[in-house]
């Protein structure tokens, strides 16, 4: 009787009417693929079974349980869903550029599940992206880790709810340009950036102390101590000091990278990842020893002064020095071929297949604190998978199907010309940009107002 009742509910679509919509999970069996597990070697013509969103079996001759769809991937390659550790896809706002520290700002508040960039990323095999605040501030907002469940209408359904909190920091030219030069406040120099961070953490320590003192006094008899001012800004910085938040820091130069390592040591911060890190090769051992590594571009530089001293060997040098290294996109265009970006580490640095693939799977997963859930093909992990027609590090590789939690969200055969989820009734056709530059790099989006006219006119590169 009960069963019938549930069937009845499901039939009328009433099952998902609850205010907290349930994330959809699926089951699928992929057969006879060359399985690139990334962490456990490669398996020739093997099967992978995903049940209710979780990988439950890897091996040969697995038969599909009742009702589970079986996909024949003979001659094809199966790899874990690609993870982009630096992206701004699916965000309505990138920069709250108005203050040097805005740690109270949450990118989760401004996730836009309708953005077509999610689908385009899926078409490039990317299942998880790190939707970051921009680099206008020394301490930017808290980021959101997204799972690309295309078609969801509720932002909460594409946020990876079991991922740890992360936050954006930024060093160098961007914050000094926006606040120092653009607005006449600290920081105007790299020294100022360090001061802003140290002051912030010291204030956070005082803040934490004030609340602890209040909490202790609150219920004592004759208490006259009143509650301190509430500040989510300082609370978030205190959470960083307590190891609850992973810092992802936009950085280029070796000196400032080393500076932040020293700041982290002084404040006993262990969870630190560097982003961009173009001069990371100069301080690779230090990064390897103290941090959760670096997330870099494969070969992209010289878009502003602090990014001239760069090399395409950066990723390989970091990797071989023992730093956790990932390759990211920071772009709605690059995100579509991160497998190709990863392959560049083989041309520049002769990394192995496994090392190169790790740069877009398990390594970024580690940097986002989600390597126990995604980033490789292992039993017990979430069923985020991509089928390629040839080896993903081949120049000719094209993703065929992309799965998140065992549900297929991209299939090259079923790819329609117009995949938009949301069509605006009053707009003829939304603008489509063919050239990457016009919509891609959004690290400095929403900040024009804070820059002087010179910057707006001439400094168009905005990472």
């Amino acid at each position: 009787m009960k069963k019938i009742f549930y069937l009845f509910l499901a039939f009328f679509g009433l099952g998902c009417n609850f205010s907290q919509a349930q994330v959809q999970k699926g089951s699928v069996l992929i057969k006879n693929a060359t399985v690139l597990t990334v962490t456990k070697g490669n398996l020739e013509s093997a099967d992978v079974l995903v049940q209710n969103g979780i990988i439950t079996q890897i091996g040969k001759n697995i038969s599909a349980p009742n009702g589970v769809q079986s996909i024949d991937a003979t001659g094809k390659y199966l790899m874990p869903g690609i993870i982009d550790a630096h992206s701004h896809v699916a965000l309505d706002v990138v920069n709250e550029a108005s203050a040097p520290i805005t740690s109270e700002v949450r990118m989760k508040d401004v996730v836009n599940p309708f953005e077509i960039g999610i689908y385009r990323a899926l078409a490039g095999g990317v299942t998880v992206s790190h939707a970051m605040h921009g680099s206008a501030n020394v301490v930017g907002g808290q980021n959101a880790t997204l799972k690309h469940r295309w078609g969801a209408k509720d932002p909460a359904d594409i946020i990876m709810q079991d991922a740890p909190r992360t936050i954006k920091f930024a060093l160098g030219e961007n914050p000094t340009r926006v606040h120092g030069r653009g607005n006449g406040i600290q920081p105007r120099s790299r020294m100022g950036v360090e001061a802003v961070i140290r002051n912030g953490f010291n204030e956070a320590l005082q803040y934490k102390k004030a609340w602890e003192t209040f909490a202790a006094a609150k219920n004592t008899k004759g208490n006259t101590l009143t509650p301190p001012v509430y500040s989510e800004r300082l609370q978030t910085l205190a959470d960083i000091l307590d190891g609850k938040v992973i810092v992802h820091c936009h950085s280029y130069r070796a000196d400032e990278i080393y500076m932040l390592i020293n700041v982290a040591k002084d404040f006993n911060i262990k969870k630190l990842v560097f982003q961009h890190t173009n001069e990371g090769f100069k301080v690779a051992p230090e990064i390897a020893e103290y941090t959760m590594g670096a997330s870099v571009f494969a070969d992209w530089w010289a878009y502003k002064m602090e990014v001239y001293y760069s090399t395409a060997f950066n990723a390989a040098i970091l990797q071989r020095n023992g730093a956790i290294t990932s390759i990211n996109s920071d772009s709605a265009e690059l995100i579509r071929h991160l497998y190709h970006e990863a392959a560049k580490t083989q041309r520049y640095g002769s990394l192995t297949d496994e090392e190169a693939l790790a740069m877009i799977t398990i390594n970024p997963a580690k940097q986002l604190g989600i390597d126990d859930k995604v980033g490789s093909i292992e039993v017990g992990k979430q069923g985020d998978l991509v089928i390629f027609d040839s080896h993903p590090l081949s120049s000719y590789a094209v993703p065929q199907m992309t799965f998140v939690d065992g549900i297929k969200y991209f299939d090259i055969v079923a790819d329609k010309d117009d995949q938009r989820q949301l069509v605006i009734a009053t707009e003829m056709v939304e603008p489509i940009y063919l050239r990457a530059n016009e919509e891609a790099h959004r690290c400095m989006q929403d900040v024009e107002i804070y820059l002087d006219a010179f910057d707006v006119a001439f400094l168009k590169e905005n990472h």
């Binding site: 205010s19 550029a97 203050a99 508040d109 509720d154 932002p155 509430y230 010309d417 069509v423 989006q445």
Partner: protein, 555 residues
């Protein structure tokens, strides 16, 4: 109680040198078809009202001797409309001059758009022409929303009645809130606004706690409650609801998620796109006021029949689909069992009839429309006892129409507010179908005068004044805008002003930091308003709206 203001004025005025005083405050509408409430099929009755109060509705009522009789034989009587949220008669607060040492990363609340202490009533004028414009289409009451940033101030309920009477029915109805950032300072974006909203809310709660301690124990340091915290007190104590303007699905979700997190009472207003959040609205029990407007069909009309590719045609189909769906949203809301009101904020009175008939044509029942204009907002605003339906003892707010109200050809002949009768011209019925489309428009478009404009950019909204005048037969003038270097307003002459048909366009130069940009503004003029785009090189094109606040005298 709240209507005493004008009652006294009339009863005890001893002399009337102006000669404008009413002969009587007692009226009788005889033998009209009376629709007392949404869903009522209507029946012939006489309606009596005196001193602004309905004194009787029924058949065979004796007509008081002092009553002025309105013959209702061919008329349909409805309860007048209640507007769930508007800026009718509201003027913009004067912008305070920015101090030279203003820290944009942490500006004083007033500059950051946080002015919850402001009262809509302080910025309301019941002699504004908007009052008559909206009354003319049937509105007798409106919740006025103050203009401003993320927390612009408290709303009030006003009567759109006699300009000489006191308009306020109830002050402090709700606290208005927007997702609008402040230009060039913290909080500048939706993300910043949401963070700052939490901050303001939590600290207002703590300020109350502090005050309570100070009041009850010795040795507690003096509370230093800010004007913001003081004004937010009733909100955090759940006495005053927040009236959040949320246009899109994502904004609806954002407002509801803040509500769930913090626990305040919430009313949503200005909803434009909400189809995918109907369940959420229903399950959260949030009261909603839909924007009283349907999307313009320019993109549909601009679709070409020939010479387009299959791919373009497929896109046309999707736009058409999206357009059709957006028209059905209100009907879907009704189907889901959600009762709603309407908000007229950012809409035009002249479009109301079309908006309502379009919604009805797309499945919304007439009963639901009338409820959305009367009983539903009355219930949300807590005034069901005095308004929303036609009953003895309620306020005499009525509409007298020539035909059933939502019929295409129906016209409003009288609107009665607080017992004051306003007469409107009724056009004679055309015998054949109107052929206005073939008639050339002979009304000249006036653009000369001072316009107030507002432009929405990703960095926040910005606005100023445009002054247009004709000299030697050539249009010219000037524009003020927020100074990009960050303080106050700057002004520039406008050039290349052209007016072709309804389309106005002009350019102006902004100079900053040794650089200069040419900004192009173009838009369509409709009466006293203009809508269009403002484009800035390398930054993009942003919507701009302007209203002609003081037209030049035409000689």
């Amino acid at each position: 109680m709240m209507i005493f203001g004008w009652v006294m004025q009339i009863s005890w005025a001893q002399s009337d040198p102006s000669g404008k005083r009413r002969v009587t405050s007692s009226f009788a509408i005889t033998n009209a078809t009376v629709i007392k409430s949404p869903g009522d099929p209507g029946s012939k009755a006489t309606v009596l009202f005196k001193d602004g109060i309905i004194t009787g509705i029924g058949v065979g009522l004796s007509i008081p001797k002092d009553a002025q009789v309105i013959s209702g034989d061919s008329l349909y009587v409805y309860p007048a409309f209640i507007d769930g949220g508007s800026n009718i008669g509201i003027s913009k607060p004067k912008e305070a001059e920015r101090p030279k040492d203003l820290v944009t990363s942490n500006p004083p609340d007033e500059f950051a758009g946080i002015t919850p202490w402001r009262l809509a009533t302080d910025f309301y004028s019941n002699t504004s022409t908007q009052v008559d414009e909206w009354r003319k289409v049937g509105f007798a009451m409106t919740q006025i929303i103050p203009d401003g940033g993320m927390l612009p101030g408290k709303t009030a309920l006003v009567s759109l009645g006699d300009p000489k009477s006191i308009a306020i029915i109830q002050a402090n109805v709700a606290m208005a809130a927007n997702f609008r950032g402040s230009r060039g300072m913290y909080p500048g974006t939706v993300a910043g606004v949401m963070a700052k909203f939490r901050d303001v809310y939590q600290n207002s709660t703590l300020a109350l706690e502090h005050e309570k301690m100070f009041a009850s124990a010795a040795g507690v340091k003096r509370p230093q409650t800010t004007p913001t915290q003081l004004a937010m007190g009733p909100v955090v104590q759940r006495q005053l609801p927040i009236l959040f303007t949320a246009n899109s699905e994502l904004e609806v979700r954002r407002a509801i998620s803040l509500q769930k997190e913090l626990g305040f009472k919430l009313i949503l207003t200005g909803l434009e796109n909400y189809d995918s959040v109907i369940d959420l609205i229903k399950n959260s029990g949030t009261s909603v006021m839909l924007k009283l407007q349907v999307p313009d069909d320019k993109s549909i009309k601009s679709q070409k029949e020939e010479g387009v590719t299959e791919a373009t045609k497929a896109q046309y189909t999707r736009v058409k689909e999206a357009y059709d769906n957006s028209l059905k949203q209100a009907a879907n809301l009704e189907k889901a069992g959600v009762s709603f009101g309407f908000s007229t904020l950012d809409t035009k009175a002249s479009d109301v009839h079309k908006a309502l008939s379009t919604m009805i044509a797309n499945g919304l029942s007439e009963k639901a429309v009338l409820a959305a204009l009367t009983t539903n907002p009355a219930s949300v605003l807590g005034i069901s006892r005095i308004a929303g339906t036609l009953e003895k003892g309620k306020l005499a707010n009525l509409i007298l129409a020539t035909e059933p109200l939502f019929k295409e050809s129906s016209q409003i002949k009288h609107v009665i507010v607080d017992g004051y009768v306003f007469d409107y011209e009724v056009k004679k019925k055309a015998n054949s179908a109107p052929n206005s489309s073939t008639k050339p428009e002979n009304t000249a478009i006036t653009v000369e005068g001072t316009w107030e404009y507002l432009s929405e950019t990703p960095a926040g909204s910005s606005g100023g004044e445009i002054t247009i005048k004709k000299e030697n037969g050539v249009l010219g003038g000037s524009i003020t805008y927020d100074d990009p270097t960050g303080s106050g307003k700057a002004s520039a002459p406008i050039k290349n002003v052209t007016l072709t048909g309804k389309n106005l366009s002009f350019e102006f130069d902004i100079a900053a930091g040794g650089m200069s940009f040419t900004v192009t503004v173009s838009g369509e003029v409709n009466g006293k308003s203009m809508e269009g785009n403002l484009s800035v090189p390398q930054m993009g094109s942003f919507p701009v709206k302007a209203t002609l606040s003081s037209p030049s005298q035409i000689n």
